[in-house]
């Protein structure tokens, strides 16, 4: 029983970050119809920024976290402005190829700047875990969960309660009509990409002190984010949030009770199960045919 509870707790903590990664990716796809292959690199970028600011320059960790998020947004806006804006109207495969090229160049750039040796970000929290009855969890992980939930909540408010959110949702539903209603579509695209990138960079900076920072850390994370958005349906934000927690549960319990070596394969197994049982998807999915 304790083991179940401990796995459940770990899954919830992990699921928070997965949801952050998932909604960033699904938001960009939903509004821009772009499969963002730089998502994992923005996650890595966030982690390196946290390392640079908190680890090398000795800044306050929380301050570094906020700055990593802002820098991630800036980088996202730059990518949108230089690479995606000129390609407006291109089909999904074309933008995908450009994003793959950008992802390769970014990862090699990180390798060039930071080297292949793993870096660690100093954690501001005490090392001893918090014991809650029969289960325990590290202070730093609780903090990650807290920030993730806060961001998820803030994100929902932004989408559902603000004028900006209305404009974004309008662009998502019908870009042409939204433009006729006076929504600045180009600005919406830049903001969307910046927001999604910022979420990925924040996730990277949050997890920096828990794992180590390497140039290839984004590869697996990007694949998991893809699995999450497929589970929830591309462009479906609540779906991606649930998908994040579903994947975390599958990984935790799969690793705990089946085999830890295949932990990272759980996402794919979930996708296969969804394709066999419910090819139309767990939630409503528009993209599918056949």
């Amino acid at each position: 029983m304790e083991a179940h509870l401990q796995h459940l707790l770990n899954a919830v903590v992990l699921g928070g970050t997965y949801a952050l990664l998932g909604i960033g990716l699904t938001l960009i796809f939903g509004i821009m119809r772009v499969v963002n292959f730089t998502h994992g690199e923005l996650y890595t970028f966030g982690a390196y920024m946290a390392y640079m600011l908190a680890g090398m320059m000795g800044l306050n960790f929380f301050m570094s976290l906020a700055m990593a998020a802002v820098l991630g947004m800036a980088l996202g806006a730059l990518i949108e402005f230089t690479l995606l804006r000129p390609l407006k109207g291109a089909d999904i495969d074309t933008t995908m190829l450009v994003m793959i090229g950008a992802g390769i160049a970014m990862q090699a750039g990180e390798q060039l700047v930071w080297g292949g040796v793993a870096k660690s970000v100093p954690s501001p929290f005490p090392a001893e875990p918090v014991v809650l009855g029969s289960v325990s969890v590290g202070m730093n992980r609780l903090f990650v969960l807290g920030v993730a939930l806060l961001l998820l909540g803030g994100f929902y408010l932004l989408i559902n309660r603000t004028t900006l959110g209305v404009a974004m949702r309008a662009t998502f539903q019908d870009p042409d009509t939204a433009a006729l209603m006076g929504v600045n579509r180009g600005l919406m695209y830049t903001l969307t990409f910046a927001l999604g990138s910022g979420l990925a960079a924040t996730a990277g900076a949050l997890l920096g002190p828990i794992f180590v920072v390497t140039p290839t850390m984004g590869d697996l994370v990007a694949l998991k984010a893809f699995a999450i958005v497929i589970l929830g349906g591309l462009g479906n934000i609540p779906g991606a949030t649930i998908g994040g927690f579903v994947l975390a549960l599958a990984e935790e319990f799969g690793a705990g009770y089946l085999s830890s070596g295949y932990r990272d394969a759980m996402g794919f197994l979930l996708i296969i199960a969804v394709l066999i049982v419910r090819p139309q998807g767990l939630f409503a999915m528009k993209e599918r045919i056949g």
């Binding site: 390609l87 990272d264 394709l275």
Partner: protein
């Protein structure tokens, strides 16, 4: 006439030229480039002719490589029964054909599964497939040796009238073998795309609903194309594994799929010559860059090259050259016409 002879002239030059040069390094580069070109040609069948961006193609290459290696080395497998299943070393060509068959079988299964979805979903499913293959290769240590890799894989052998059956250790023979397999794959693809199947594939690339409405069994044709492409990628994997003679889980890395995609897109997807032109460019480019740039810088150039190609040569090199020639012919014809008018006036 010249247009029909040109490909054979190219094959002849490729067969004789490098051997005449006799430089071992050039032979090595061309052999590995040739293996990747076979992979790119098979990918082109999916990417270029059916229009499906399959980003897990390296999985079939890796499956072919591992299957061929395991069959030629022999293996034992504990299936939970009293006695483990033991298979002794098989002749290399049996192993090679086994690799092609198993890769094609996976092509069938994945085709059946992945073609339930299209677009971004399809892309992500295929990427995940290759990643899971990598994890299986890493974790199933009893069979694959995991990160320790499979070593001492025997080279392919060949019967020569003057030597009898000899194992192909020499680079010259391996190079010619790769060239021969590439020619066979090219001819198969050429026949295929000019047949009924090929026309059905192009029809569904251009407009899937329309193709469906005139009675083309879309999914069946897609699966057929995937099976053939997977078998060819498996053959490339087999050639690779018996040439390099070591195979580890890194063979499944995403970057290799990307390399094949760049080759196809740069050369011109949906053209027969495209993967060869793009393959030669991107097979030789890293070797040239190696002299002047660090590996990281090479990858940056790779990524940027991919963006530049999509931006400025979206159709690829082969269609661009073809259009240029067509345009020139038109201009030449126009000038000739103008001249005649002047003389008659």
């Amino acid at each position: 006439m010249t247009a029909r002879l040109l490909p054979w002239l190219f094959v002849l030059v490729m067969a004789v030229g490098p051997l005449w040069l006799g430089d071992q390094y050039i032979l090595y580069v061309l052999t590995s480039t040739g293996i990747f070109i076979i992979g790119a040609m098979s990918l082109n069948l999916l990417l270029g002719y059916t229009g499906q961006l399959s980003l897990g193609h390296i999985a079939f290459f890796g499956i072919g490589a591992y299957t061929s290696a395991l069959l030629s080395l022999g293996f034992d497998l504990d299936l939970g029964g009293a006695e483990p299943f033991v298979l002794g070393p098989q002749p290399v060509w049996v192993a090679f054909l086994g690799g092609i068959l198993v890769a094609a079988l996976f092509g069938f299964l994945i085709g059946k599964l992945a073609f339930r979805v299209r677009g971004a979903y399809f892309v992500i499913v295929t990427i995940s497939f290759a990643q899971v293959m990598r994890m299986v290769a890493l974790n199933w240590v009893d069979l694959t040796e995991g990160p320790m890799a499979l070593n001492n894989i025997p080279p392919l052998s060949v019967w020569l009238p003057w030597d009898g059956v000899i194992p192909l250790y020499r680079k010259e023979y391996n190079y010619l073998l790769v060239l021969a397999v590439a020619v066979v794959c090219f001819l198969v693809i050429q026949r295929l795309v000019q047949s009924r199947v090929g026309r059905a594939l192009v029809a569904l690339r251009e407009n899937e609903s329309l193709a469906r409405s005139v009675g083309i069994d879309v999914t069946r044709y897609l699966v057929v194309a995937t099976v053939i492409a997977a078998g060819m990628a498996g053959a490339a994997g087999g050639l690779y594994t018996h040439y390099i003679r070591i195979v580890d889980p890194d063979v499944f890395m995403f970057i290799y799929t990307v390399t094949m995609v760049i080759m196809v897109v740069t050369g011109g997807k949906g053209t027969l010559a495209g993967p060869i032109v793009g393959g030669l460019a991107f097979g030789i480019l890293p070797e040239v860059l190696r002299e002047v740039a660090r590996p990281e810088v090479q990858w940056i150039i790779y990524g940027v090259a991919m963006i530049v190609v999509v931006f400025f040569l979206p159709q690829g090199i082969v269609p661009a050259v073809r259009n240029w020639f067509a345009g020139r012919r038109k201009r030449v014809a126009a000038t000739a016409l103008g001249l005649r008018k002047e003389t008659s006036a």
